[in-house]
C-alpha cells in the first residue's frame, strides 16, 4: 500500500490497536495524536519535560525487557534530546522503538520552523549515533514497515528501531477530550495496569 500520509495515521496505526505496547509520547502534537487514537492506561503522555521522551522510554525498556516500548514524539521534542539518541544506541535495548512525527514545525508555539525544515536529518543523526535500524518514512508503505517492526520488536526485530515519519506542515490540535494531564495519575494508572493494584499499596 502506498499513498499520502496524514499524521493521525501514525498514532492510529502504531498505538491504536496494540493493547500490549508500552507508550511514552512527547508533548503537544504527539500527545494529541495518541490520545485521539484512543486513550489507554499504558500510555504516558508528557505535558512537560521536553526532550526527555526518549530517555524515559529507555528507562522503561530496560526495566521491562519482556515488553515492547514505543516512544512517539515530535521533531522539536527529539531535537531537544539529541544526546539521548547516543545514550539509547549505547544501551542498545532490543525492545525500544522511537518514532518521530516530523512536521518540521513547533506546532504548540505558533508553527515556527524547526531545524528539520532545513538540512537537519534526524534519521541520519540517529544512525550516526549508532542506531543501525534508522529509517526515513514518507509514505503509507513505510509506515506499514514500521508497524511490522514494532509488532516483533525484541524478538524477530532487534531494536533499537528509530524512524522519522515525514508529515511536513501537518499540525495537530488538541482533541475534544484532552488526555489526562495529571502526571501523578498517569504514573499510577500506568503502573497499576502493568503490574497490578498491589503496586499502589
Amino acid at each position: 500500500m502506498t499513498g499520502a500520509l496524514t499524521r493521525q495515521m501514525i498514532a492510529d496505526r502504531l498505538v491504536g490497536n496494540d493493547a500490549d505496547l508500552l507508550v511514552v509520547t512527547g508533548l503537544g502534537g504527539t500527545a494529541w495524536d495518541a490520545s485521539r487514537a484512543g486513550d489507554r492506561e499504558l500510555t504516558y503522555y508528557l505535558w512537560g519535560g521536553m526532550g526527555l521522551a526518549a530517555s524515559m522510554g529507555l528507562g522503561l525498556a530496560l526495566s521491562r525487557p519482556d515488553r515492547r516500548v514505543l516512544v512517539l514524539t515530535g521533531d522539536g521534542e527529539m531535537l531537544m534530546g539529541l544526546g539521548s539518541l547516543a545514550t539509547v544506541a549505547r544501551a542498545a535495548p532490543t525492545n525500544l522503538a522511537i518514532v518521530v512525527v516530523d512536521n518540521e514545525l513547533y506546532g504548540e508555539t505558533g508553527g515556527q520552523m524547526s531545524h528539520t525544515a532545513g538540512a537537519c536529518d534526524l534519521a541520519a543523526v540517529a544512525r550516526a549515533t549508532g542506531i543501525a535500524d534508522s529509517r526515513l518514512v514518507s509514505d503509507a508503505a513505510g509506515l506499514e514497515d514500521v508497524a511490522g517492526a514494532l509488532r516483533t520488536l525484541g524478538t524477530e526485530r532487534q531494536g533499537p528501531v528509530f524512524a522519522v515519519v515525514r508529515v511536513p506542515g501537518q499540525l495537530s490540535g488538541p482533541p475534544a477530550e484532552l488526555p489526562p494531564r495529571d502526571g501523578t495519575y498517569l504514573k499510577h494508572r500506568f503502573r497499576e495496569a502493568l503490574m497490578g493494584p498491589a503496586v499502589l499499596r
Binding site: L22, G49, M50, S55, G83, A91, K187, L194, V199
Partner: protein, 181 residues
C-alpha cells in the same frame, strides 16, 4: 601559578563500598551517570554487577527521564552526578519528576565548596543546595565516611517509599579536592 598540594582525604577510601552495599540493600536495578572521579569506584562496582543496568548518559537530565521510565516499569534507578551536572537537570526534575511525583534518588558529588582549585566550579557548587530546595527536593549532606551508608538508606527510603525527589550531597571534604599535577 603552581598546582596546589591536594588536601588530605580520609584513608582508606571505603565509603563508595558502603554506598554500593546500600544501593543493593534498597534494590536499585538501574544506575544512570555522567562519569565523575568521585563516583569512579561506585560506577566500577555497579558495572561489574549483573543485577544493575548501568547507563552512561551524555547529559545529566537524561537520567531524570531514565529514572522515571524505570519507575513506570517497576524498577528503581539512582542517578550519579557532579554538582555542576545538577544545573543540567533543573527543568527535568521540576517538570517531569516533581510534576509526576516520581521517586528520584540523586547522589551528587560536590565541587566548588572545599579548597576548590577551579574557580569555574564554584558558582554552581555554591548554589547547589539552594537550587535543589527551590525545586522542592530533599537535601541530605554527608561530611564523613561513616555517615554514607546510613544517609544513603534514609535518602533511598525517602525517595522510593515516600515518592520524593532526594539529593544526597557528598561533600568535597569527604571526597577529597581534585588535584592538578
Amino acid at each position: 601559578m603552581t598546582a596546589p598540594v591536594p588536601l588530605p582525604v580520609s584513608t582508606p577510601v571505603t565509603w563508595p563500598d558502603a554506598l554500593y552495599d546500600t544501593l543493593k540493600e534498597v534494590g536499585i536495578d538501574q544506575i544512570g551517570h555522567v562519569p565523575d572521579a568521585g563516583h569512579a569506584r561506585l560506577i566500577d562496582r555497579c558495572e561489574h554487577d549483573p543485577g544493575i543496568a548501568v547507563t552512561g548518559l551524555t547529559s545529566e537530565e537524561e537520567g531524570v527521564g531514565l529514572a522515571a521510565g524505570a519507575w513506570l516499569g517497576g524498577q528503581r534507578a539512582a542517578l550519579l552526578m557532579q554538582s555542576s551536572g545538577l544545573g543540567n537537570c533543573i527543568n527535568a526534575i521540576a517538570s517531569l519528576a516533581e510534576a509526576g511525583q516520581f521517586p528520584l534518588l540523586m547522589i551528587i558529588t560536590m565541587r566548588g565548596e572545599w579548597g576548590e582549585f577551579n574557580p569555574w566550579q564554584v558558582p554552581l557548587g555554591r548554589a547547589t543546595r539552594d537550587v535543589l530546595l527551590a525545586i522542592d527536593c530533599r537535601v541530605l549532606n554527608v561530611h564523613r565516611p561513616d555517615e554514607v551508608g546510613d544517609t544513603a538508606l534514609a535518602a533511598a527510603r525517602l525517595a522510593f517509599d515516600s515518592s520524593q525527589r532526594v539529593a544526597m550531597l557528598l561533600t568535597q571534604r569527604l571526597i577529597g579536592t581534585k588535584a592538578f599535577r
